[in-house]
Every structure is written in C-alpha cells, then in structure tokens.
C-alpha cells in the first residue's frame, strides 16, 4: 500500500511539473501581455514598459519560471496580476463556488441516473427502457447554455420563482442567497450529466447481466433482486466511478459555460479571465490546483476500485 502511494505521489509530482511547464510555455507564446491589457486604451510602448517593470514582467522568462517555482515549492503561488491579490485567495474563491456546483450536480446526477439506468437495463427493450433511453438522449443533445437560459426563462420569467440568477455580491457572507443562486446552475449541470450517466449505467449493468457468473448465480436459483445487488450493481459501479472521477475534473473548468449564464465567479470563469488577461501566475496556479485535484480524484477512484472489486489490490 505504501509503495503504491509513493509511486502515485511521484507520478503526481511529475504531472504537476509537466502541466505547469507546458502552460508556462503556452503563456510565453500567447500574443499580448498583462501590462498592455491593464493599460487598455492608455497603452503606448513607453507606458507598457514602465508597468511591466512595476509588475516584474521585464525579467527574462527563465528567471520568472524559476522564481515562480521557488515560490510554488514553498506553497506561495504568487500574486495575481489581474486582481492584485494572492493567487491562493482567488483560487479558493473560485472553488468555493464551483466545487458545490460540481459536487452537488454529480451527486444528484448519480442519485437520479443509477436507479433509472438499472431500471432501463432490467427491462431492456421494454417501453420503459425506450422512454428512459430517449429522455437521456434528449438530455445529451441540448447545449448546456441553452438549457440554462431556458431554465431562467421558465422558472423566473414565466413561473416567477423567487430565485436569483446571479451570485450575490456578498458571496457566502449572504449564505441564503448564495445557496439559492446555485440552484439553477446545479439543475442545469445535473440534467446533462445524468443523461450521460443513465446511458452509462444502463450499458454497464446490461454488460454485467450477460456475464457468465451472473448467469451462474441465476441458474443457482438466487433471487433476481439479490443477483442484481450482489453481483451486477457492484460490478457495474466500476465504470460509473471512473466516469464520475473524470467528469469531476473536467467539470471544474467546463462549468465556465454555466457560470457565465448564471453570473457565478467560479473557477471556470476565473480561468477564462486569467487567460484573457495573460495573468500567468493565476493561470499557473489554477493548472497546479487542477492537477492536484486530478491526482487526488484518481487516487480516490483507485481506492474505490479496490473496495468494489475484490480482484484489485494495491498491497
């Protein structure tokens, strides 16, 4: 177990280094620089140079890269150029909005899609299956921004529900409004994710049900319900867990679309802003935090695997 963890840790460090270095390179070749963007219409070469010097951007790239690493190794991700504030604070702010959206949506999506998927698989070919599968397909074919705006139109313009459509200015210091502001975004993400998961669950349950050991269990005269829960569901959970892990890291950024629709200051919007402002400490920080999340989630997925599948062992 420990050697497994050590190996994972080494791989994680390599991933972090690779991701941050690649992004640093990308930021070097992007046209435009933070100083001229801050100055906007006041930009002329002389003033840009002056501001670059104030921001420490006049140093050669290699020096900036090494300086950033020196800081990052001590846990200091530096200061955002765009926001004149510590990168750590900004990322924490983004996560405080995006994490609840992603976690609750995936949770809800799992709660909805597992029963539906199992039901569809058990009655494969029936009208119920066709109904569930068709609904799932419809959930997949709609772009999420369109769904979000339709939710706004339906729930707020038509039904006049007392829900905010944007995050309150006081943020989590106004917890009630902040929570309410996340309702529609969570619903929007849930819809598309559960559509995907239903299909996934149905597929993997179907696959397990056709395996030999399930047939054997059935032949042994085990109750259908028991077959389903003891064998089928546990095995079918494996691919679902993998997909959930992947969805989680993808959604941390992909939520930017829903964040834009609902005016949420999440991690996705933060990355968009950071890249548009060429705010390299902020972009770097986001990538490192993302990579850390990915490594962590992979670890959790692996551990769940070990729990769910007796054949897998990391001893």
């Amino acid at each position: 177990m420990w050697s497994y963890l050590a190996r994972r840790f080494a791989v994680a460090l390599a991933t972090l280094w690779l991701a941050s270095s690649l992004v640093f390179l990308a930021l070097l070749v992007i046209p435009g620089d933070p100083a001229s963007i801050i100055l906007g219409f006041g930009a002329d070469p002389e003033r840009i140079a002056a501001l670059q010097a104030r921001l420490g951007l006049d140093k050669p790239p290699l020096e900036r890269y090494l300086l950033w690493y020196a800081g990052a190794l001590q846990g200091d991700l530096g200061e955002s150029i765009r926001y004149s504030s510590p990168v750590r604070t900004e990322i924490a702010r983004g996560l405080s909005v995006t994490l609840p959206v992603v976690v609750f949506s995936l949770l809800l999506a799992t709660l909805i899609s597992v029963p539906l998927g199992v039901l569809a698989a058990r009655r494969a070919g029936s009208w119920l299956d066709v109904g569930i599968s068709t609904a799932a397909l419809l959930g997949i074919v709609l772009p999420s921004f369109w769904v979000g705006l339709m939710f706004i139109y339906l729930f707020i313009v038509r039904l006049d529900l007392p829900l905010p459509t944007s995050f309150p200015i006081d943020g989590w210091r106004d917890p009630q409004r902040a929570l309410l502001a996340l309702v529609l975004p969570i619903l929007t993400v849930t819809l598309s994710r559960s559509a995907l998961l239903v299909r996934m669950v149905r597929g993997s349950v179907l696959e397990v049900l056709s395996q030999d050991y399930v047939r054997t269990a059935r032949a042994k005269g085990l109750a259908e319900r028991k077959v389903l829960y003891k064998h089928a569901l546990k095995n079918a959970a494996l691919p679902v867990v993998t997909v959930l892990g992947l969805e989680f890291s993808q959604l941390l950024i992909a939520a930017v679309i829903v964040e834009t629709v609902f005016g949420l200051p999440g991690l996705g919007s933060l990355s968009l802003t950071a890249i548009n402002a060429r705010d390299f400490p902020l972009v770097q920080g986001i990538v490192v935090v993302l990579a850390a999340f990915i490594v962590l989630v992979n670890l959790i997925v692996d551990l769940l695997y070990a729990y769910l599948d007796p054949r897998v062992s990391y001893a």
Binding site: G32, S36, L39, G40, E46, E90, I156, G171, T260, G263
Partner: protein
C-alpha cells in the same frame, strides 16, 4: 382652505423626503476593471464607478457634459489664459478622515505631470504637459501656471484621471481601494463579482447621498444581465445594454428603458499608413459603400445616431457631417476602379474584430456584409481576443481595418497624433487642433474644431459608423436615474429608491 392644502402638501413633501433616504442599489456593469484608480489605467468602467461617486477633482462634468465646480468652489482665469486660480471648498475630508487641502492638489498634479511614468504610475503625463507649475498660496487656494494657453485645460481637470486622493496614500493601495471625497466610500472590491460602495456620512453636501449602499455587479453577458434584472438581482443595467433587451424590457411596466446619445463613437478604423487604406480614394470608397442608416436599423435595432466625424451630437462644437458621404455604392465602385480594384481584381483586406465587445462585433459583421455586397470587395474577418488586439492593432498598428468604440468625450485630438493607431499624419489637422487648443477666443477655437471635423471627413480617415447609444434600463422604483449621461461617471449622489 388654501392653508390646509398647503400643510398637506408640506407634509407630503416631508414624507417623500424622508422616504428617499436609504436602501441599496445594484447596478450591472459589463466589464471588471483591473484597477480602480483612473490615473493608473485607462478604462471607461473605472470612471463609471468611481468618478464623482468616490473620487472627485477640482471640477467635474455633469450629466449634460458641462464643467461645474466640485472640490473647487470657484476659479479665476487670468486675461492671458495662463494662470488659473482655484478656491477650494473648506472642511472637506477624505474617506479615511484626513482633511483635504491645497497640498493634496499640488501633490496630485506634480505627480500627474511627471514624465517618468515608472515613478508616477500616472497613465498620461502628456495631457498635463502645459502645466508649468502648481502652487498653494494658502491651504484653500491653488494656482496653476501654464506654459501656453490651453482651451482644454478645464476639461483636462475634469477628466477621471485628474481626481484627487490623499497625498500620503500609496498608489498600490489607491489602485485597489480608492479613497476620495465623494458621496460614497469605496468599501470593497469583491473580485469577479462586483464593487461595494457605502454612503459617506461626512459628505460635504448636506442630505446627500440618498442611498445607503451601492453595488456594482460585473455581468458581461447580455442575457445574464436581462435575467438578473428580471429576477431582481440588479436594479439597473447602466449602459451597453443589448438593443433587443431594450425592446423586450420596454414592453414591461416594471422597468424603464433609457436611451440617448452618449460620447462613444463606434469607429471602424483604417490604417492610413498601410495599403490599401493609404489611398484616400479607397478610404472614400469605403465611406460611400457603408449604409449607416441600415447599420443602425439592423445591428442596433434603431438605437444609435448617425455621425460623419469623430464627435457625438451632444458634445460642444459639434458639426453635423452625417450626410457628408451619402450611401452610394456606384460611387464607391467607381472610386475603387480608379484605385485599380474591380471584379477581376477585388479589394481584399483583413478586418480585425476584438472578441469581447458585443456592439462592435455585431456592427462589424454587418459592415463587412455591406462592403462585400459591392461585389468588388472581399473582406476577411479575423477575430482576436482583446489582449491580442491591444498589442497588435492598438500598440503596433499591425492591422488594416478594425472596429472599436471610443467612449471618451472630446477625444478628437487623437487624430492630431500621428503615432496613434490610425497612423494618420495630417499637418493641417494638427495645425487646426493646435489652434483649437491654444486660442484665447472661444469662437475661434470652436471654429477650428469644426474645421477639423470636416477635414477628417474629407480625408475619410476612419468610418465613423455611429454614435453608440447610451442604452440601459432600470426598475421603475429607481428615481433620478441620470440615464443617457455625458459625464464619465454614473452620477449616483441624487439617485433614490421610491417605496
């Protein structure tokens, strides 16, 4: 009987007044500035929030665009126009409690005119170039001595970057939390979300402001703005509202839509120093090929004002040149033929659009379609993000045609700067602008400015597609909203909420 009515009226007025006080107003803004001190970066949104609300200068521009007293009670100009003497308001305090006096003004303008921007952090020292010295004979008097007369000197003092903060305050602090003398205190910049202002209890005008709190909420997306207004998250969409939202909201009695002419011109710039637009015939052909009425009707649903040069109708010394080039595609084709372009050898060029701006993008797309309609032009649209646009098009003038809104008032002087991204070098225009600036006689000065507008139109320097509308909407209970204002700031001191 009359007496009773009088008392009733009196009571009612008292009631109205008492009810005006208090409340929170939330205003949607389109972009989030990087800096909140207008002297340290350009950006119309900085001024919209802080100008005259938080930071004040000696003079200010009111909603009609007139220059009126702010921190200076009155001023005197010498007969030579070389000396300006300002008498300051007494008893004014900054939000941090330090008293405001002449030393703050002297410190401010010494910093502003310092040509070393690395030290001063001031964005445009060149506009203060004419100040020879600024002195304080006593704590409430400031005297500016100019090197030469400058017709725009009071205008320069009314610019957002001429606002004054405490002399001891560090630039780095002022950048993220400006301290001034205005009716509202800057409380916090909630990054990614908005800005919070609170009532300045010690404001020097009694009873003002009416509101307790003002929130500026950053919502870039037009549909998100509309949704937030309908859901009650925001009270006002302050500017750059999508024209379709104006039409949608106009049908709804809960909201009021305002529109009017502002100071922003949507300029389709042509690079005057580069082929093909270094040829005046080609530039003129572009003017004839553009149907501005159609642009306003289609891209902006009728909101917007036709103009023919770099000035909006609300500004002083405006010369109406909107009909200078009537839409005439045949004339355009003829001019292009003279310049060597025809159906076999069409005029090809790249039209660069900056990604972020909804008005300009839409106008640009419609404009390109109009030019393509000639049959002898092939426009290649290229969309770049704003960071790339600033570096390539604006700083390096590496473009052929582009479009952007020029929001600032009285910005025609940029055409007298041959290094500006238009790369237009006309000694005659530079001469006219000098005459305007240096003349002692307002009439002569104004005439020079009008001649300059005409000359720009004759040279077809840029396509001034329209004066962009100051378009927005607010909830019906918002009173005294400045609406289509010619001030750089959204003036909030007298806004109140009806109950």
């Amino acid at each position: 009987m009359t007496k009773r009515w009088f008392w009733a009226l009196f009571l009612l007025l008292g009631l109205v007044f008492a009810q005006n006080r208090g409340g929170t107003l939330t205003v949607a803004l389109q972009t989030e500035p990087t800096v909140f001190d207008p002297s340290q970066a350009a950006g119309a949104d900085i001024a919209r929030m802080v100008y005259d609300n938080v930071l004040q200068g000696l003079v200010k521009r009111n909603a009609k665009g007139e220059i009126v007293p702010a921190l200076a009670e009155r001023w005197k100009v010498s007969a030579s126009s070389l000396t300006y003497t300002f008498t300051l308001r007494k008893g004014v305090k900054f939000h941090d409690g330090t008293p405001f006096d002449a030393a703050d003004v002297v410190a401010k303008f010494n910093r502003a005119k310092d040509p070393d921007t690395k030290r001063s952090g001031h964005i445009r020292p060149e506009i203060y170039r004419d100040i020879a010295s600024v002195t304080a004979p006593d704590a409430s008097t400031v005297t500016f001595t100019l090197k030469q007369p400058n017709q725009d000197f009071l205008f320069v003092l009314s610019l957002p970057e001429s606002t004054i903060g405490p002399r001891e305050r560090k630039l780095e602090d002022q950048k993220v939390k400006p301290v001034g003398t205005g009716p509202f205190r800057f409380v916090a910049w909630e990054r990614g979300v908005g800005v919070r202002l609170e009532r300045n209890e010690a404001y020097y005008i009694p009873n003002l402001p009416y509101l307790d709190r003002v929130n500026f909420r950053f919502l870039g997306d037009g549909e998100a703005q509309l949704a937030a207004l309908r859901a009650g998250d925001i009270d006002v969409i302050a500017y750059s509202m999508l024209p379709e939202n104006a039409q949608i909201l106009a049908r709804d009695a809960r909201f009021k839509v305002f529109s009017g002419s502002g100071t922003a011109e949507a300029v389709a710039s042509m690079n005057n120093s580069r082929a093909p637009f270094n040829d005046v015939r080609v530039r003129r052909a572009m003017q004839y090929a553009v149907n501005k009425d159609e642009l306003i009707q289609s891209a902006m649903l009728g909101y917007g004002t036709k103009i023919g040069s770099m000035r909006s109708p609300g500004e002083a010394c405006y010369e109406d040149l909107s009909g200078f080039y009537a839409y005439d595609p045949n004339r355009a084709r003829q001019l292009l033929a003279e310049a060597g372009f025809n159906a076999q050898n069409p005029l090809r060029f790249t039209f660069t659009l900056a990604a972020e701006f909804p008005y300009e993008r839409r106008i640009g797309e419609a404009l390109a379609a109009q030019l393509n309609r000639l049959g002898v032009v092939q426009v290649n649209i290229q969309v770049v993000d704003f960071g790339t646009w600033i570096q390539r098009a604006f700083v390096a003038a590496d473009y052929q045609m582009t479009i952007i809104g020029h929001v600032e008032a009285n910005d025609i002087g940029r055409y007298a700067n041959p290094g500006y991204y238009w790369r237009y070098n006309s000694p005659q225009v530079q001469q006219l602008y000098t005459t305007y600036l240096r003349s002692n006689d307002p009439k002569k000065s104004c005439d020079a400015l009008k001649a300059m507008q005409r000359k720009l139109a004759e040279d077809a320097v840029s396509i001034w597609t329209m004066s962009l509308p100051a378009l927005g909407a607010y909830r019906a209970n918002v009173m005294n909203w400045p609406g289509a204002s010619l001030s750089p700031g959204i003036l909030l001191a007298e806004v109140y909420l009806a109950r």
